[in-house]
Symmetry: C2
Subunit: 333 residues, 2 copies
Amino acid sequence: MIQTPYLLFLGDAPDQLAAKVAQGIRDWRPENAVGQFRLPGCGADVGLTDMTLEQAKAAGAKTLVIGVANRGGIISAAWKEVLVRALQMGFDLASGLHNLLRDEDDLVAAARVAGMTLHDVRIPSVAYPIANGIKRTGKRCLAIGTDCSAGKMYTGLSMDAEMQARGLKTTFRPTGQTGILITGGGVPLDAVIADFMAGAVEYLTPDNDPDHWDHIEGQGSLYHVSYSGVTMALIHGGQPDALILCHEPTRTHMRGLPGYALPTLEALRDTALPLARIANPACQVAGVSINTKALGEDAAKTLLEDTSARLGLPATDPFRFGAAPLVDALVAL
Amino acid sequence: MIQTPYLLFLGDAPDQLAAKVAQGIRDWRPENAVGQFRLPGCGADVGLTDMTLEQAKAAGAKTLVIGVANRGGIISAAWKEVLVRALQMGFDLASGLHNLLRDEDDLVAAARVAGMTLHDVRIPSVAYPIANGIKRTGKRCLAIGTDCSAGKMYTGLSMDAEMQARGLKTTFRPTGQTGILITGGGVPLDAVIADFMAGAVEYLTPDNDPDHWDHIEGQGSLYHVSYSGVTMALIHGGQPDALILCHEPTRTHMRGLPGYALPTLEALRDTALPLARIANPACQVAGVSINTKALGEDAAKTLLEDTSARLGLPATDPFRFGAAPLVDALVAL
């Protein structure tokens, strides 16, 4: 686990989009961040108080989280100066960058001298077991998509937030680096060795109270040939009681695969449910989550109503209109 | 690639079963082995000429292959003496053991001094790409199982051998350590990082002549919750034109999963074919391979006839009765 609260490092992010990790923390776990740190020329602002390292330290921050993508895969000299100083001042560092903190000799040396920790959340830090398939107590909900990047993480976070607001027992279970940085822990599933994928998901979602729900972050898609194996491991390791079908309605082909059309929501349902029932015969498809960002409000509502009628399932854009219909469906299962 | 021909090291194998890697090489690529090397007390014999290291060297052997499982996961002192001497004499070493040659300091030192190579075939030696899903030329056949260890490797090797005997263009493509040692190359798929599984299978089965068949070694099972993600990556990375359904008829539950019943061959067909058609819309189920080892000859033939009639597909035990019906089906596709 990464120690909270954080100071969010935005560096010299050229624009808001580059700071999406920081924005995710701000949106979903604002209590995890005391402020933001920006370098001259930074074009991003996630709306937290700008702080120096000293101010953040005084405010109780434990970890400096790199909340921004770096340009060209290089940790620049301007970043380095801040990161080394943060280590010297007693901050841990956490990063989801492709190039690793642990591969930077000066950061490793500074962390060793200061006795601080470098968290590279893309790399598993646990020797996960092989999945044993034994039924676990508690309930689990898995978001699956017609495609990658269809809103699965936001769907799970929205449902978790709605359940928290209702005083229900709930945990969001991250399986990718952004989710791990948002919550402070999880499994970087796409970096796990093949034989241990399903076991890593079992490890992530252990026995729990009978009325507790895990919201497992989905990855990939059964229909995305590059990553479908990861999705399959989530379905079998997660033993979901409920599936949420996620869709982005403006895609013209599968992400990164120009020759591949998206499946319909019906096809996804009919493919995924029998596979899920191998691990959990009680599994149900509970609802549909559509990312309507590209649509006007009327068009979005019409699409959601039509989809709900067509599939006989609640349908919402949880980020835009709230996750209440999906949580109602879980509670009613 | 591992250099051939081999000398097969049987060590102090307690029985024939412990030498199954060596037996596989003897059964399927006898031209890859000049002889066998046994220590005092060895209870296995794969029927090759017993040779000293010196005799094998004179016969042209390039690599000493550890063709036996070791006891307790330890490379013993008795083995070490032979392995170090082999390196000093100019043999490479190849092993599929869980404990790695590269983790043994004395072997690493001896290999460095002699300029020889240690092949640990459980560990990927290539940085595989992410799958791109682009249609490749040539034909591919994938064996899939109702369970793990249902005869998928032997099915692929049998079909490859039958096609070779007919003068057809064919390659067996190993995805596990035994297959890799048998042929000298392949992808240890269960040790590949999740994001690169399907890409590793694409790498293993590149563009080829339009009438060339790759026989891809299957792994796991869509119905085995511990490993189904690996199977999924084979189905999407392999883009098979043909699936062979493999089954072991005496199992009472999924291997290592007491709570899980085996699917029927019909269920496997109906689950796997739509998934395979995501990557290759032309994919067909071409036949059934049943491991009848536990059955008498009459019972085996009756089971195969009944299965063939029930599914409307050729059915054989390729190791016992030959792979001709399966190859006929491929040629007719």
